[in-house]
């Protein structure tokens, strides 16, 4: 049986043994490392990990150093998911053939990728892994931008965000397309488990990760990862931004079981206006000019509509 950690409080959680070391090159205030630790700390089982090319990868495995105290592989930008699916296939093969060196272990197979690697360039590879239902977990570190290459828009970048390839200017308010519904698409593969998580809601996150690890088959996790560099906020405010993301319902926390059973897992006691989320980030600063204020109103309407949609799906179990 899998061995899940019993975690009672944040102190216990934060002081438990790390398999992802603090010695890495990620920006101060980067949420990636927080999310990765929360994922890895959810289990005591052995891990086989992959990262797609991106911030996490270039900051944690620069020869001759590694930040990973677990087996880890990086191939390219688009194929972290498939790297892990190949390793998982080998595990199954060697298990059948009785050739595992430590046959009594219950390794967990996890791939991490940014939204560029997941929503865009690696989309097909992830879809393949989910459709084939490998016993693996794919975690998107969703900072809604190509941060590693310096802030280009991805298909996760939301409307109105200024990115280097969709810059706000005298006649532009930045990104014109809405964020891709990756959760919906992945759940539509009818995988056993998909969930959206946020690093500030660590209990919710650990519960979902542990549920994912206990699930046989493919698991998709979308984690909001506030990016101090590209969202343009003070590095000390990462958790504040994550709080705003979840409490404005811009980033609602929910899970989808077997492609249809949707459960909302966090209902903020006091829902914060979306405007506060936008106002906290430099990438949306231009929206507060008079000519673009209608976009803030539209933002709120979109978030409200999405929340209503999720609630309807939860109720209808479809």
């Amino acid at each position: 049986m899998s061995e899940m950690k019993k975690i009672k409080n944040l102190k216990e959680f934060s002081t438990s043994a790390d398999r992802f070391e603090g010695a890495n090159l990620l920006c101060p205030g980067c949420a990636h490392s927080i999310i990765v630790r929360e994922v890895l700390n959810a289990t005591n089982d052995d891990l086989v990990l992959a990262a797609s090319t991106g911030c996490l990868e270039v900051c944690t495995a620069v020869y001759p150093y590694t930040s990973w105290d677990a087996s880890w592989i990086h191939i390219g930008f688009e194929n972290g998911s498939t790297a892990v699916s190949g390793a998982e296939a080998m595990y199954k093969a060697l298990k059948t053939k009785g050739r595992l060196k430590q046959p009594d272990r219950n390794p967990k197979f996890v791939a991490f990728g940014g939204d560029g690697a997941s929503y865009d360039i690696g989309f097909q590879w992830i879809s393949g892994c989910m459709e084939r239902n490998h016993d693996m977990m794919y975690v998107v570190l969703d900072n809604e931008v190509y941060a590693n290459t310096g802030g280009q828009r991805s298909s996760s970048t939301p409307i109105g965000a200024s990115a280097t390839t969709t810059p706000a200017g005298s006649i532009s308010y930045g990104e014109t397309r809405n964020k891709k519904d990756m959760m919906g698409i992945m759940a539509a593969h009818n995988i056993p488990y998909a969930a959206q998580v946020a690093p500030n809601k660590w209990k919710d996150m650990v519960k979902k990760i542990q549920k994912g690890f206990a699930t046989e088959g493919a698991v998709f996790i979308n984690a909001v990862s506030p990016c101090t560099t590209e969202w343009k906020f003070d590095p000390k405010d990462t958790m504040h931004l994550a709080d705003l993301a979840t409490d404005t319902l811009v980033f609602p926390l929910y899970e989808i079981i077997d492609g249809h059973e949707l459960n909302i897992t966090y209902r903020p006691k006091n829902v914060v206006p979306v405007e506060e989320y936008l106002a906290a980030q430099g990438r949306f600063r231009h929206l507060f000019k008079d000519e673009y204020k209608y976009l803030i109103k539209e933002w709120q309407e979109r978030v409200d509509a999405n929340w209503a949609y999720l609630n309807r799906r939860e109720e209808a179990r479809v």
């Binding site: 020869y63 790297a83 590879w125």
Partner: protein, 407 residues
């Protein structure tokens, strides 16, 4: 659950694809991660069928593209087991990124390339443009001239790739349709002999050894990248050829079939010679023999190991030849043919006075006929007699319309 073995006949009638699939079965490959493409598909279909019939134990992962196929192979190989796949042409082109990643990570994967032309124009038939496209990808590359060799070289490939002093991926090339779909009498090894020859897979830096976690695929910049690449290439040039010879010798002891990095035919006293690859080698041998009756001392050199290219061997073999033709089955794209260039490089700084000319042939599956080769040997003899090239240095043969040549 134990798998069943097959009782094979002394002679089986297999095409090149089935021969390769049988070799994968006998090697008991642990993971095949694959995507179909003509004319290579039957190799991985074969593995899948063997698995369905309990003739092989392993995982067959049918992925959604060739890029994913090799990505899965890389993950599986890094996890620690025997891995193989097959592709061709456009599939190989899509896979190309990952080939460099596989070799850079020194993962012993065996890839069957069933050689096919690259589009455009779209074409499913044989030429070597796919083989040439990835010739510098850091993989060891073998070339089979017929189905028997496709079988033998697959077994040899695992043994070379997985040697801990080598740890490099290996390509086994065979000609699309001409070899892959042409059934011939094949002398297979017994299942036990074949498996014992390849041997148990011995893991190295395996991700599934949880007591010794490993990091695969790191980043190195200007501080270390060059050392990694240079040392690996140095091993490829200095260590790998000897290892290949060792495995060839061991295979000969077992099977009676002798392999060499260069397969020489009537070269000892030859005045003129053709150097080529794939099924053309056998055609050239037939014509070379016939040329002897016409008084032309003709020989053939077949390239068995394209990478690491046997520079010293070919310089030795060709040093006393008067006129040599390099046959390239790929449009060179703004250069001389690749084989021409390798041979020229091998002979440079030697005392050889050889006249070297290049011939581009057989693109998109166009036949290389015996008549083409008779004319070619005749042309080489004329060059040898004149002591100079009487034609342009690079010519196309077997193409319609006016004669095309360059350089």
């Amino acid at each position: 659950m134990a798998f069943d073995k097959l009782e094979l006949n002394e002679t089986e009638v297999w095409d090149g694809n089935h021969a390769a699939a049988q070799a994968l079965r006998q090697a008991q490959v642990d993971v095949v991660s694959a995507y179909p493409i003509t004319p290579s598909t039957a190799i991985v279909e074969g593995y899948a069928k063997f698995k369905s019939d309990n003739l092989v134990e392993g995982e067959f992962v049918m992925v959604e593209s060739e890029h994913a196929a090799m990505s899965g192979c890389i993950g599986a190989a890094a996890a620690g087991g025997r891995v193989a796949t097959a592709t061709a042409s456009q599939g190989l082109a899509l896979m190309a990124e990952t080939l460099y990643q596989a070799s850079g990570m020194r993962l012993p994967i065996v890839l069957n390339i069933v050689n096919r032309a690259l589009a455009a124009p779209l074409n499913v038939n044989c030429d070597h443009s796919d083989m040439y496209m990835v010739r510098d990808s850091g993989w060891i590359q073998f070339d089979a001239f017929n189905p028997q060799e496709a079988y033998d070289l697959n077994l040899i490939a695992f043994k070379v790739a997985e040697d801990h002093d080598v740890r490099l991926p290996v390509v086994v090339n065979q000609d699309g349709f001409l070899t892959s779909h042409t059934a011939q009498g094949i002398h297979p090894l017994s299942d036990d002999d074949a498996y014992n020859f390849v041997g148990e897979y011995k893991p190295m830096n395996d991700m599934l050894d949880f007591e010794n976690p490993v990091t695969h695929g790191v980043q190195t910049e200007e501080d270390w990248h060059f050392e990694h690449k240079a040392r690996q290439h140095s091993d490829t040039m200095n260590i790998v050829p000897g290892k290949i010879d060792e495995v060839f010798a061991e295979f000969e002891k077992l099977s009676g079939r002798k392999y060499s990095q260069l397969e020489c035919y009537n070269m000892d006293d030859a005045d003129v010679a053709v150097v080529c690859m794939g099924t053309s080698v056998e055609t050239a041998r037939e014509v070379a023999l016939e040329m002897r009756e016409k008084g032309i001392k003709a020989g053939v050199v077949g390239i068995r190991v394209l990478r690491p290219f046997p520079f010293a061997n070919i310089a030795e073999v060709l040093k006393d030849i008067k006129a040599v033709a390099a046959l390239d089955r790929s449009a060179p794209g703004g250069a001389a043919g690749a084989l021409f260039n390798e041979i020229a490089g091998a002979l440079f700084n030697t005392d050889s006075k050889m006249l070297l000319s290049g011939y581009i042939y057989g693109l998109g599956g166009r036949d290389l006929t015996k008549k083409h080769l008779v004319d070619l040997y005749t042309e080489l003899q004329a060059n040898a007699d004149a002591g100079k090239l009487l034609t342009q240095q690079q010519q196309f043969i077997g193409v319609r319309g006016p004669k095309l040549a360059f350089l």
